[in-house]
Symmetry: C2
Subunit: 715 residues, 2 copies
């Protein structure tokens, strides 16, 4: 059974031995209760792990009543899973021994790796090397461990204080201490988990591998993530999209990303770069992945409980049934705030309600069954509303008034839930008398919230996810482009140590990629300039081309509104005179001649290549909107057609593009096609580091757009 | 002792008998447990009310062991407070009898008033008339009642299921059913109240009278409001400001305003009117009142607990002490999001921490005492940080890890709180093992939150309130204006049934109120037009003045850029010819001649008179910003100087006024002075219904502003 490094070939790692091992070696098992090695063993035993447990400790015969082995070699068989709680320096060698013996997965609880500096980093690299060599998945190091509540496994390979209940929620956390808090919270709230994983330094197993495993895990319906960073943004998008977008078996992914500090490390020379904070990039990643980003732990669990227990609403039309007017209004406000629609019911529904409810009730949505409603009145009203074809989801509010039958009303809700595939969310308001009713609801998979705002917010999250599932599916377009030509220009520039492409060459690159471009030419003398202007058609602009001259306008290096050949010739002379007064003629490479358009709206497109996430695309309205109001949006390349369209609608100033005061809409598809071309260009030409297209001039719908000015910076 | 209607004169109503009565008549006391008349009596008795209780019911001798009286006349004395749970039709007569007998306050629990239509409205008007005639305060009708937890009173004159604990929070609710839910919630969370009031239809006692009473209530430190509407916006601002801004005895007011629907009733002819939703007006009212508006019940209690138990931070610098990295990062993110500053500690503090904490700790803020910290390490770290002069508030995070001493750490926090006047907020994360620690904290007035985001949010609210307290105090300026002249113009227009003032008269009104105005004149013939133009100075604009012509531009009724007298004369002829081609010469009143300025930024000021709240002022950036982006802000007039300044900073596009790309700032004080003048004008000239100043052209700092175009609509 034993393998050596040479015998093992790399293949996709199988996480089954990590979550469903038949046997486990606890290396570093300890009798001292303050040691992780004690807790892990203790947890495995007390939770009732179904496989074999082999404590490994050279100094003990037995711990907690289980026979102990002095070393891995002494084990009667190769344990499928090795859990290590030993000094970090001993980890690489131990991991190797385990792998050679035939162990198929490892959890490294031990700290003392990358997080302590260079020394630890070396150990961690060694761990990774061994893990890859033997092709075994390794969780950690520096983690709490992992948990699988499946009754046929009952694995708690962690030093947690608590074993969670069985449930259909998987939780992946980059913070071990957060796991401790979450487990304590979930215990109090009766929230169950399918899998619970602390990924620590995620040297080998990252959220990517776990997502792929959870995608196929029949016990998991909802996936929660706490991340501080993602190493592979593009890979994350692909893995997550596959899960969140699977119509046959959709699993929502909810994520908290913490560490919202602005990226400071990389000096940016482009608008795009200077506007791009880490946080905006993560917004882009989560948007493209269909992951719902949330801001707080309470929010993530509010949502998780709804997703884990109720069917997704078909669409956003909600009916509110309440025994109190005020909370009904609060719920209505909150529903609207979170993107829901207050359902307009059929007349027949309203009539049916009127037949039985007291006259002071409110018969239109929100339906107020009034304060003295007992369970039977709730039942009647809920049935009427539930059967209305205009209602997708029901929000049931109860306030504990004198006559209110709390438990009985809860049982009514539970009963009705079995008769419908609509989404039912309850809000039994309070925290004392209503507790017993809330318990009945919770135990029967009716999500229950203390106040209407949280209930509406959770329902709003479900609708957002429904929209994601129902979205138009589009592809990454591949345009026919002249990649060779563009490549040659960049290679040439690189060879000449040009950091910034001259404007005419930047335009050549965009042209090769099929961007619509304002007609232009490059001239090295007056006659040529006039000739180019004639070809382009008047009016034209002249701009000096020189790597030396940064502020071309200030030195008279730009001439606008040239109406005929004479004006071009004069402007050329003027410009040459004025520029050579400050710069040597040798520094002038030539003159850029460009057509001038009137009208149009200015937008800006950009790309900045992130060391981790690759090319990141930016879109915003030109000028002050970008600079002063920072009204921009980002996406990772490559981008799908729908995502490019979404970028336009993301910015606050979208109405200005769509047209105001009866003004025609800008050519939105021309913009999104440019974004898609920029995406392809950015992916295919890695020599480019940053791009600003500023402005892209956009005309009315059907009339296209033109690149007017642009900067391409090389690495 | 008895009084008749004629004997009583109106005076300010005293709420003492409502909250601290020496005797109470329960009119409609009942044996039937489902009746409010039972619950009220039962509550008074079981809670241990310290005064005398007189049940009134003609059909019973005693209820719940208390002697019953057949009518008010039969009572041995006039009960100070009368609580009525009788049919609404009997209420007015009963109230009158009580008042005549000498009762000093009443609570009308009964429903069946305004909320059921015209019939009930009549009854309610009668109640109000009697209340005013006898000058007795009446709570309700259609309310839950009121509660005073003061041990020397112990009043529960309501049909609530629950009596709250003693506390220093007062709660006023416009929804009775919400009260039921809140009491149930507070019971579960161990939150205490000083006063608890359901105001029902608020026919007589509104939130205003209650605010004034609570201002002087020594038992109340924090006031919570749930309102669905305010009747007197201006009065609310004044009453609330006095409470929230009292430096000697500040009491924060937190409010939930529900019913965020857009005002639809009043057709608006101005920008201001069309942009003004009810919700924006309430934002304005709360901003001017120093009231913290919150969106949800959980949020209001998160804040209330912090305000009720901890001193306000001196400023916004917070230190985070945690035993877990992840939650420390989450707390940092949340602190920044909620406007706090992560304190930069003294070097000496960091040195002191390094001396004792393990080397893998984090010594800069957030301070991570790491996972194996026991209570003693927390104590040492907290002491160091607490004594740092750069720290105003401490956020103490604990995750329940293997070695964590939960209760002992809680006791450490409690002990340290006694040694400091800094703000201490705790976040013992979880809901099971941490419960006992959380209880210790709660019982000792340390606000405790389950997750860091909520803790940071509460601290953020405290800092917002601190900023309100520390704000520059300014007055409502009174400018010297020519009110007579402005009044005459309006009277004249009114007499002529003009709905909209002609432009030159609108300008005359602004001129009378000292607004800076683009020079203008009014001419009725060509010679006069040329003469006015010469006086104004070139270039000028001509605009036709006519009530018949709405789209002046379209019919050639506007001429721009007129550079000299000849151009003016020609333009006049052109305009006259073009306009009279479509309209009769008689419809032309004359020509408006105006100077033209170059440069400047366009802003819009407006006023819309609300039937409830009086004149409401609007400010926004001109053109697309207002129309497409709806980037505007509102305040009620009269406005204070600071509030006018605040309006400028409220809009998202403020950076454009402040200046971008090295551009000079716009003349901000010129704008805010115009807002203040508009405020005075709106208050002093009630004939005006709506105003749009669009644009006000604003020049660089120090160079002022000019009203360019404006509309004044009369009632």
């Amino acid at each position: 059974m034993s393998q050596t490094i040479d015998q093992v070939k790399s293949k996709a790692k199988d996480l089954k031995p990590l979550f469903e091992p038949k046997s486990i070696a606890v290396i570093g098992a300890s009798r001292r209760k303050e040691m992780a090695g004690y807790s892990v063993l203790h947890n495995l035993i007390t939770v009732g792990y179904k496989g074999k447990i082999y404590p490994v400790n050279p100094k003990a015969d037995e711990i907690e009543g289980v026979k102990c082995y002095p070393s891995i070699k002494d084990l009667p068989e190769a344990a499928e899973l090795a859990v290590m709680a030993i000094p970090s320096t001993a980890v690489p060698q131990t991991l190797k021994e385990c792998a050679e013996r035939g162990t198929k997965a490892a959890v490294i609880i031990s700290a003392g790796f990358r997080e302590i500096g260079a020394e630890g980093k070396k150990l961690e690299d060694e761990v990774k090397r061994i893990a890859d060599t033997f092709n075994i998945p390794v969780l950690g190091p520096n983690c709490l461990g992992n948990i699988n509540t499946d009754p046929s496994v009952m694995l708690n390979a962690s030093f947690s204080r608590t074993m969670p209940q069985v449930g259909n929620i998987a939780f992946i956390s980059q913070s071990g201490a957060l796991c401790a808090a979450i487990l304590d919270y979930a215990k109090g709230e009766n929230i169950g988990f399918s899998k619970f994983v602390s990924i620590g330094n995620k040297t080998d197993i990252t959220e990517l591998e776990l997502l792929r495993y959870l995608r196929d895990d029949p016990k998991t319906d909802v996936i929660l993530l706490y991340v501080e960073d993602l190493v592979d943004g593009r890979g994350f998008i692909e893995a997550a999209r596959e899960i969140t977008g699977d119509i046959a078996r959709p699993k929502p992914i909810l994520a908290i990303k913490s560490g919202r500090t602005v990226q400071g490390a990389k000096a940016a020379s482009s608008h795009t770069g200077s506007l791009m904070g880490t946080d905006e990039v993560y917004d882009a990643i989560f948007a493209q992945a269909g992951v719902l980003r949330v801001d707080s732990v309470s929010e993530i669990f509010d949502y998780a409980v709804a997703f884990a227990n109720q069917p997704l609403p078909k669409s956003k039309r909600v009916a509110i049934v309440t025994n109190a007017g005020g909370p009904g209004i609060m719920a209505t406000d909150a529903c609207v705030r979170y993107g829901l629609e207050i359902a307009k019911m059929e007349d027949s529904t309203v009539e049916a309600l009127k037949k039985v409810l007291p006259p002071t009730s409110n018969f239109s949505n929100p339906i107020d069954v009034i304060g003295d409603a007992r369970a039977d009145r709730y039942e009647y009203a809920l049935k009427c509303v539930m059967n209305d074809p205009n209602v997708d989801a029901l929000l049931i509010i109860l306030t504990p008034q004198a006559m209110t039958e709390i438990d009985e009303t809860a049982r009514v809700v539970v009963k009705l839930a079995k008769e419908t595939d609509k989404t039912l969310i309850a809000c039994f308001m309070g925290n004392s008398d209503v507790i017993s009713g809330a318990k009945i609801l919770n135990e029967n998979r009716i999500p229950q919230y203390v106040f209407p705002e949280e209930a509406a917010r959770a329902l709003g999250a479900m609708v957002r996810y429904r929209n994601w599932l129902d979205r138009l599916r589009t592809n990454i377009k591949v345009f026919t482009v002249d990649i060779q030509k563009a490549g040659r220009i960049l290679e040439e520039a690189k060879k000449n140590n040009q950091h910034m492409l001259p404007i005419h060459q930047a335009m050549d690159v965009f042209k090769a990629y099929g961007f619509p471009i304002m007609p232009y030419g490059f001239a090295t003398n007056k006659e040529e300039a006039v000739q180019k202007a004639r070809e382009i058609g008047f009016p034209v602009v002249l701009k000096i081309v020189s790597q030396k001259i940064i502020h071309k306008f200030d030195v008279g290096g730009v001439k606008l509104h040239l109406k005929d050949e004479g004006e071009v010739a004069n402007a050329y002379d003027d410009m040459y005179r004025s520029v050579t007064a400050q710069f040597s003629p040798a520094s002038i490479e030539g003159v850029f001649v460009q057509g001038m358009a009137s009208g149009g709206r200015e937008v800006i497109l950009g790309m900045n290549r992130d060391p981790h996430f690759g090319p990141i695309l930016m879109f915003g309205l030109g000028g002050i909107y970008v600079e002063a109001l920072k009204d921009v949006t980002f996406r990772l390349a490559p981008i799908r057609e729908l995502s490019a369209h979404d970028m336009l609608e993301d910015i606050r100033a979208f109405p200005l593009l769509k047209g105001v005061r009866g003004e025609a809409s800008a050519d939105l598809s021309a913009i999104s096609e440019c974004i898609e071309r920029l995406s392809q260009l950015s992916c295919e030409l890695p020599l480019i580091d940053e791009i600003d297209i500023n402005p892209l001039l956009v005309f009315e719908k059907g009339k296209g757009a033109r690149v007017v000015d642009a900067r391409i910076a090389l690495k």
